[in-house]
């Protein structure tokens, strides 16, 4: 068995119970701290720990709101994402006179008219739809 400072490893010197008891009598004080000391210490603890607990509750509230906020952002993005505006006919992210011009030229040239360009949903792509684009461009 290996030695450590002259004593076997794992050797925990035993203190006789009577000796431990009498040593305790010698060094343990006959009285306890005043109750006012307890009150001061515990009041100090509440002052120190209260803000810590409050901070954790605030962080938990914010964390609970994150999924809601994420859902709201996603919803807004789905509704107003660039290129998703019906009147943005050229898909450049803006509704402007160019979109109206594109539709007007398509009508003039008699080319393929996309069903999506029926902006007033009257079953036809015509001058009224061009007006709608211009109206939207003006509002923006």
């Amino acid at each position: 068995m290996t030695m450590d400072n002259g004593h076997e490893n794992g050797d925990d010197p035993a203190v006789p119970e009577d000796l431990a008891r009498d040593l305790g009598f010698l060094v343990r004080p006959a009285y306890t701290p005043r109750a006012a000391i307890d009150d001061d210490i515990l009041a100090g603890a509440r002052r120190r720990l209260g803000p810590i607990a409050a901070g954790r509750r605030r962080r938990r509230s914010i964390v609970r709101l994150v999924p809601l906020a994420a859902a709201a952002v996603l919803l807004i993005w789905l509704v107003v994402r660039p290129g998703a505006v019906r009147e943005d006919l050229d898909g450049n992210g803006r509704v402007d006179v160019l979109d109206a011009f594109l539709l007007a030229r398509a009508l003039r040239d008699g080319g393929n008219l996309e069903k999506a360009w029926d902006l007033d949903h009257d079953g036809r792509v015509d001058r009224h739809d061009v007006d709608l684009v211009l109206e939207r461009a003006r509002r923006l």
């Binding site: 450590d4 400072n5 002259g6 004593h7 050797d11 925990d12 010197p13 203190v15 006789p16 009577d18 000796l19 431990a20 009498d22 040593l23 305790g24 009598f25 010698l26 060094v27 343990r28 004080p29 006959a30 009285y31 306890t32 701290p33 005043r34 000391i37 307890d38 001061d40 210490i41 515990l42 100090g44 603890a45 509440r46 120190r48 720990l49 209260g50 803000p51 810590i52 607990a53 409050a54 901070g55 954790r56």
Partner: protein, 190 residues
């Protein structure tokens, strides 16, 4: 018929209890702090009295010790039991209190003051007090931490920042002295 699941739960391991309560305190739980305080208050006070022998100084040390713990929240960390953390804190604060009082001349005086009342009318304890006072401070400290504070060898080593082997050595020497002294040999003959 007695319900078979109705078995009394095993008492919580002190180490687990301390870690659980410290974790709760770090989250701002004042009730957990109070539980820790109630559990360790008398030990801290007793230890402070051992070093200062003055009740008012010991009360100050008690307050300052737990204020120190609070100052570490919410990052208070325990590697073992709270006793290992508190022991050097109390010892350091008590030394500071002694310097302030400016009439302390060493552990021996504090111990003498503390044991005087305890040994009145008790010859065997009076003899024990004399033998104890004659031990080197380092051996006496380890003996009291083991026998009175019931700290493990590892906890003592941690608190005093010395190797476990040194703790064993000091404890062995202290017990050997008490065993060899005719005034205290009887403790080892029983």
């Amino acid at each position: 018929m007695a319900c078979s699941p109705c078995v009394a739960p095993e008492p919580e391991n002190p180490l687990d209890r301390d870690h659980r309560l410290v974790a709760a305190v770090n989250k701002g739980d004042a009730t957990a702090f109070e539980e820790l305080y109630r559990h360790y208050r008398d030990w801290v006070f007793s230890l402070a009295m051992r070093f200062t022998a003055e009740a008012s100084d010991a009360e100050d040390v008690l307050q300052e010790s737990f204020s120190y713990l609070l100052s570490k929240t919410p990052h208070l960390h325990l590697s073992g039991r709270l006793t290992s953390l508190l022991y050097p804190v109390v010892k350091h604060l008590a030394a500071h209190a002694r310097k302030k009082r400016a009439r302390y001349h060493g552990d021996r005086d504090a111990l003498d003051g503390l044991t005087a009342a305890a040994v009145a009318g008790t010859p065997s304890r009076a003899e024990l007090a004399r033998v104890l006072s004659a031990l080197p401070e380092s051996q006496r400290e380890v003996l009291l931490m083991r026998a009175v504070d019931e700290m493990s060898l590892a906890e003592i080593a941690d608190a005093l920042e010395i190797p476990v082997g040194t703790v064993k050595s000091r404890l062995h020497h202290a017990l050997r002295t008490l065993r060899a002294d005719e005034r205290t040999r009887a403790y080892f003959d029983r």
